[in-house]
Each structure stands twice: as C-alpha cells, then as structure tokens.
C-alpha cells in the first residue's frame, strides 16, 4: 500500500512539467478550494482534480486518499451541527450538555457540515495529485535555493527512509528466524519486540551517519560555493500551464471578492447558483483543465510534443 502513496515515475506529461508550474497549478487548486463555499464550485474543483489524477494514472492512489478522507469527514458532519447555533430551521432539540449548553441541530448546520466535508475531500484530492505529480526531489530542489542545509537534511532523510525500511525488514526477518513472533503476546511484549527493532536500527544507522559525513567531507562538502549539475528548463508548455493557473486564481479570487462562489448558510440557506456563478465556474474550470487537456494532446497528437 505504501508504494502506491509514493511518487512513481511514469513518464507522463504532467510529471514532466517544471516543478514551479506544477506547484502553481496545485496551489491554485488549493487556494480556490479554501476560498469558495459554494458546493457547485467545490464539486467542480473535485472533478477537475479527479481528471488530473486520471491523466496521471493515479486512480488507485486517489481511492486510498478518499477512503481516509471519508473517515475524517465524520467528525465534521457531527461537530458542526452540534456547536452551531446560527441556523433557523431547527431539526432536533437535544439535551443540555455541561460545556455546550442546550443542543439544537439545524438544517443549515447539517448542510454546512456536508459542504465542509466536500471541501475536505477536495483538499485531500489536491494533495493526492501533488503526491503523484511532483517528485519529492524536485520539490526539495525549490527549497534548496533558499535553505540549503535544511534541504540537504530533508534530501538525505528522504533517501534513507526506503533503505531503512528494507533494513528494518531484514532485522525483523533475522529476529523471526531467531524465534521472535511479532504477532503474538501482550501489548507490553509487542512493544518490547518492536522497540528492539528500533534499537538495532538506531545503532546501525548512527554508525552509517558517521560514514556518510566522512563521504560528504571527502566530496568537499562545505569547502566553497556549490555547483548545480541539473537545472529544470521552463518549456512553452510549462508557461501555458502556469499562465492558465494564474488566470484561474486571479479570476477566482476576483469573483470571490465580488461575492461569487460564496454561499450564505445562516440563518437560512442562500441560493446555490446564479448565472454569474455558472459563467465564472465554467471559465475557471476550463482554465484549470488546461494542463489535463495538454496532457491528453501530448499523448495522442504528435503536434503537441
């Protein structure tokens, strides 16, 4: 399951985008999903993200994210109706509780909880898109320009993580061969067994860190200005994707300031859509779909390449 959550190189158009263009697209989706409260907009952003995930052949990964996200929506659906007093259409009068006072559940609060759950699914889907679209190294390369030492720590740790998992598996197998059964025993016994694993891993990893530091020094770490061997080139398709994302962000933010895409929940539910909403949403979704459309063309039409 862990492998599916990690970035996998599939040589797809969206994975080949410049990291800045890819991050701009993802940030635009994220900001728009946080600005708007209209369920139509949130569903639109969800579908648009889903299209990109489909173009990245990541539906399996998306399913895992959505499963986790659905679990997280449960408290949102419960807490919002219980704590909100602003709704006018009361569905249920509950008992008086010590901290919260008299509980009343209103239709508006239930609807607000549902819309916020939709937003959570949007946000989780956008992060799923980030996971399968941007290579961690490329994301860290952006950080490297501002914080070299921090980026180096993160890069080293990212490199070591899969190696350590394999190392941990090896240690576990050795323990199993020696008669340790990790699936049986009380909580204390299980804790003991698992922490022994970490103990052995800690000791061997700390020894490795000394060797790594010596290898870094042998390669002249810290002796002067660093050189950069690989630079990502900003190609025309990156420019198109970045421009479409910027346009969607600008138009979306302007629309939100003018009152589009923002729904009134209290005291009574406001209207879900107007013609202006429909036009703005259609334009924004068209702009947000540009990278996916380019990806479709890149794979099917040679003139796009």
């Amino acid at each position: 399951m862990l492998e599916e959550l990690f970035y996998q190189e599939k040589e797809l158009f969206l994975q080949k985008l410049h990291p800045a263009a890819a991050m701009l697209h993802i940030c635009t989706l994220l900001v728009l999903s946080l600005i708007f409260t209209n369920p139509l907009y949130l569903v639109g952003i969800f579908l648009c993200t889903g299209l990109s995930v489909y173009a990245l052949e990541g539906l399996q990964t998306w399913k895992l994210f959505i499963k986790g996200g659905l679990l997280m929506t449960v408290p949102i659906m419960i807490i919002n109706p219980l704590v909100s007093r602003a709704g006018a259409t009361i569905l249920w009068h509950g008992p008086r509780l010590p901290v919260f006072g008299k509980i009343t559940v209103s239709l508006e609060a239930v609807f607000y909880g549902a819309v916020m759950s939709m937003r959570l699914l949007d946000v989780i889907s956008i992060f799923c898109l980030y996971n399968i679209m941007v290579h961690p190294d490329k994301a860290l390369n952006i950080l490297e320009r501002f914080a070299f030492k921090s980026a180096l720590v993160l890069s080293l740790a990212t490199r070591m993580f899969p190696a350590m998992i394999r190392h941990l598996e090896n240690i576990k197998q050795v323990q199993v061969v020696r008669g340790v059964d990790f699936s049986t025993g009380s909580f204390r016994q299980k804790l003991d067994k698992y922490t022994n694993l970490i103990y052995i891993l800690l000791l061997s990893s700390l020894e490795d860190s000394m060797e790594m530091a010596e290898a870094m020094q042998a390669r002249a770490f810290g002796s002067g200005r660093r050189m950069c061997y690989v630079r990502d080139v900003f190609k025309p398709e990156d420019f198109i994707c970045a421009a479409s994302s910027m346009t969607a962000l600008f138009v979306g933010a302007l629309g939100a300031v003018k009152g589009y895409g923002v729904m009134n929940f209290y005291p009574y539910l406001g209207s879900v859509y107007s013609m202006g909403d429909i036009y703005l949403l259609a334009f924004m979704l068209a702009m947000l779909s540009v990278p996916t459309l380019l990806s479709w063309g890149w794979h099917r039409c040679r003139y796009f390449r």
Binding site: V83, V123, S150, L152, L154, A157, M164, Y194, S209, F221
Partner: protein
C-alpha cells in the same frame, strides 16, 4: 468581500508556514558540520520509520518519543529539524496532505521543547521527562486539531474547539500513554546511545 472564515483558514496556514520558515532559517544560521547534518538526517529517518514500525499499535507514535529524545540530546534547533523533517519525509511515503505542515510544526515543537527543557532544567528527573512526554501526546493532538477546526468547523469558538478535542481524545490518550511507556522503557537507553554519538561530533584531538 471574502468571508471571515476564508481568512481564518489562510491565516492559520500562513502562520504555520511562517513559524516553520523561521525555525528552518535559524537552523541555516547555525554553524553546522557535515557530521551534525548527517546525524540530524539519520535521526529524522529513524523517527519517520517509527511511524511505520509501530503502525500495528493504535496511535502509538514512536516518532514523538524519538524526536523528543533527539531534541533532549542535540538541543532545540536540531530537535525541531528532526521533528519537522521526520513529518515531511514520512509523508512522502505515507501521503502528503493538508496535515503535513501542522505535523511538521507539532513534531518540530516537541523536539525543540525537549531541548529547551534540558537547557532550563539540566537535572530533570526521569519521572519529569515521562510526564513531559505524556503531555506532548495531548499537545500534539491539539495542534493537529487546530487545522481541522480552523478549516472545517464553524463557529470558531472555544466550545467548537473543545468538541474537536473531545472527538480525538481517545486517540490522543493512546498517543500520550505510548509516549510515556516508550520513555519509561527505553528513554534512558536511547539518550545514552545518542548522547555517545553526539559527543563524538564534539571531540577534537589537539
């Protein structure tokens, strides 16, 4: 105008990113040797592994314990880096999400606070550290509840925050108990091993 809630979400996320940026910047300003960088990276990876190794036990986060031990031995700045890096790196493999910056902050602060505790109370007892680790199980949960509460719950008031904390109390309690048990059983051993390696960085032969 944008509704007030949108500003609350943006403000809380921006604040978290600013705090993370400030802490990373302070790490950049430190004179750090290649050995210290390698040690911080290794401890981050080990802490990240702690999330995977203890996945079978409900919300027992060995990561918090390892980050706090790292902060206790290596100081607040390195402790913060270990915590923040452990969250980011483990999420590269377990799924980045809106929770990532908040996890980076929460684990980073747990590491930094353990370093500060060592500075403020150099002779803090084992029992004191166990209580401190236990409390961080709840602090971590409350910090994580902040993003959830600020983005998806309305109205933003103390009652709704308490409700959010109540909904996660059993998970936070497992986390807190796990931290305390891990420190009780293995804290001294971890500190001894890591302390020995950390001293090796500082030893110079004249």
């Amino acid at each position: 105008m944008l509704r007030k809630g949108a500003w609350a979400e943006m403000f809380s996320t921006v604040m978290v990113i600013v705090v993370l940026g400030f802490m990373f910047f302070s790490f950049e300003l430190h004179r750090t040797s290649s050995k210290e960088i390698a040690l911080v990276a290794v401890m981050s990876a080990v802490a990240a592994i702690g999330r995977v190794a203890f996945a079978a036990l409900p919300n027992v986060q060995a990561t918090t314990f390892i980050v706090m031990v790292s902060g206790y031995v290596m100081g607040p700045s390195a402790g913060f880096m270990v915590g923040a890096a452990a969250a980011l790196v483990s999420n590269f493999f377990m799924g980045q999400g809106p929770w990532t910056p908040w996890q980076m902050l929460a684990w980073g602060l747990s590491g930094a606070s353990a370093g500060l505790i060592k500075k403020l109370f150099p002779s803090i007892s084992r029992a004191g550290m166990i209580i401190f680790c236990f409390l961080w199980g709840y602090f971590f949960g409350w910090i994580m509840n902040l993003w959830y509460w600020s983005a998806f719950i309305r109205p933003l008031n103390i009652n709704s925050f308490i409700a959010a904390c109540i909904s996660s109390i059993w998970l936070d309690s497992f986390h807190a108990a796990g931290n305390a048990v891990l420190y009780f059983c293995f804290g001294q051993g971890f500190i001894k091993i890591l302390g020995r390696f950390y001293r090796r960085l500082k030893v110079t032969v004249r």
